[in-house]
Symmetry: C2
DNA sequence: ATTAAAAATGTAATAGATTACATTTTGGTA
DNA sequence: TACCAAAATGTAATCTATTACATTTTTAAT
């Protein structure tokens, strides 16, 4: 395993020159550059990034913490993050908490030991917040940005990119109300406390505004999976008075919901309307195509990464969250009550 | 930013002792251990992993290269990889090539510069193979394992975990043939050359075996996305003699296919049967539920990571690919020809 | 040709944890 | 108490690329 030293010897230059070859090649004379190029080829040298990172005190790695890699919406956000990261010369390291079920010790350790130049949290992670609050200063951890998730008070100091979850949820609920629905169920995604809280607030707000009773029996805690959408829907269908519409905190639960409704012999939207959140790519081709609130996932990812870069570069970033627009996409899973 | 040196001074011990505190704590006397613990708390020390990695010559990072993070099947594999990686103390760094559309320079660089202790390729990546073949010896890159993908000749030296794609595809085709289908279309996933090749071979093998003509018009190149499944299906439906069954190289294309068939006024499976590959979680709840070949994604991930660990630890691993079982899951998107 | 300024290159210190080897301490036994 | 082996701890070299600072070379103007 050859080092700069050997390359330098082979090329007849100093190690500093070899280093400059990689970092500020324009400083070298053509002739010198050629000598180094040849020496590298001859020795088969390849840089030891560990040494470089150590010496420079940075890794060019951004850690993204994500509740689950399998959720299509997060996939979109990641795509946006990656596009910008690549532009800026960062690599992405993804930590999947598998919906908070994984032990956080190692992850926490990562944060406080220079392993990342920046951290993106997609969602809020209680164990992580604990660790953060234990460390008062921000000296011993890299810059952090929390996207998709509204900042709960304890992490409100971090910048954030997201949609306005409350008004998005209000819009979804009002869409159902405008179609004449009154018994509207809500399936939350309890795993992401903040978002879910805001969305539930938006739902309640809309109900109140239109003077509709919110029946607590119609409000359930889901975990954002298809399976949970199905489970909860089965429960709702067995209710004495079943809902005429179901608002789900994400599309996957909505798809599970539709499946169970149809499976029980009822029709969507004729008997029950269903509306989701995120506009994942399966929403358009579901049967019936799913009405949903679209989040601009890639845009969220890009803006998040841009902001993080700014912070890393030391540019002042205002701490107000960046709100990107959501959009109600009306397809065929919602209809007027008969 | 405190270092071992300061902790050592604070604790009244040597830097070696502090280092041992982290690496071989059982070597320290209780009293000493306590002194160090206190000193760490007092100084707010946290280890500089950059220095550690550099000194040790390893990162505890495994790089996983993946065609697209959004593909559910890869999500399953990743989950398996992560489970084992965590057990073994490795972090996962994911590189998403976005279906080979991303520039590979940086990625290639990653491989040859000690940034990873091991590399998992999920699928085969031509630009990467180029880089590999340029470097004769394996001295200057970490161990590599290629999973999901059958090893094309140029990378056949790497260990691999996967299903037997050819016979899986044969099984899928024979399922359709046993239902009386003769005009069977195949939509490939040209992006993963190896897999796609094997699956196409399996399809052709089954057709031949049962003395059925393979019509080249019925064989198309897809890119594994819903969108492409839809595009190609529209073409197939406009054919003079349209197929009575469609075999897709993955479930996402199959779902797109079903959507377009239904959209054109035909019924699945009454008019056209559709069968997919992977058994992603949306397959079960599609309408109709999708017949498909299940791959044990998590198992593939786990076995891959175990093997990689063995190689990293220097244990001899036999180079024959590890074949895991596939399973034909018959749901309702396939039926006898009328 | 001379010289000052600019450009190119060289020298050597440096980052912080680890570890081979050296030294000291401990615990148990004669 | 003295002594030995084993356990604990200390000393200092080491890993490799970068970079501040020093020195040499080149360029261009007189």
């Amino acid at each position: 395993m050859s080092s700069v030293k050997e390359v330098a010897k082979e090329a007849g230059v100093s190690t500093a020159t070899v280093s400059r070859y990689f970092n500020t090649p324009e400083q070298l004379r053509d002739k010198t550059r050629k000598k180094v190029t040849d020496a590298i080829k001859k020795t088969g040298y390849s840089m030891n990034s560990l040494a470089r990172n150590f010496r420079r005190g940075k890794t060019n790695v951004i850690v993204v913490v994500i509740p689950s890699i399998g959720v299509p919406h997060f996939g979109d956000v990641l795509k946006g993050i990656e596009t910008v990261a690549r532009q800026k010369g960062f690599s992405i390291m993804i930590i999947d908490t598998q919906f908070n079920t994984m032990p956080f010790d190692k992850m926490t350790n990562t944060f406080f030991s220079n392993q990342a130049d920046g951290i993106i949290l997609l969602g809020s992670f209680s164990p992580f917040k604990d660790a953060l609050s234990r460390s008062k200063s921000s000296d011993n951890h890299p810059p952090i940005i929390v996207s998709c998730e509204n900042a709960t008070p304890d992490i409100s100091d971090f910048p954030s990119v997201r949609i306005d979850n409350e008004s998005a949820s209000t819009a979804a609920t009002e869409h159902l109300i405008s179609l004449g629905h009154q018994r509207i169920a809500y399936i939350s995604g309890s795993l992401s406390t903040g978002v879910s809280g805001e969305r539930e607030a938006g739902y309640r707000l809309a109900m109140e505004k239109h003077k509709l009773k919110t029946v607590e029996d119609l409000i359930s805690d889901g975990n954002l999976t298809i399976e949970d959408g199905r489970r909860i829907t089965r429960r709702l269908l067995n209710l004495h008075q079943r809902p005429t519409a179901i608002l789900c905190a994400n599309d996957e639960m909505a798809l599970g919901s539709i499946y169970e409704i149809k499976n029980s012999g009822l029709r969507v939207p004729d008997d029950i309307s269903v509306i989701g959140f995120d506009n994942i790519r399966y929403a358009e081709i579901s049967d019936p195509p799913l009405t949903t609130i679209a989040q601009p996932g890639e845009e969220i990812g890009e803006k998040t990464m841009y902001q993080l870069c700014h912070i890393i570069e030391g540019v002042e970033v205002n701490s107000a969250p960046t709100i990107v627009p959501h959009q109600l996409i009306i397809r065929s899973s919602t209809a007027s009550i008969k």
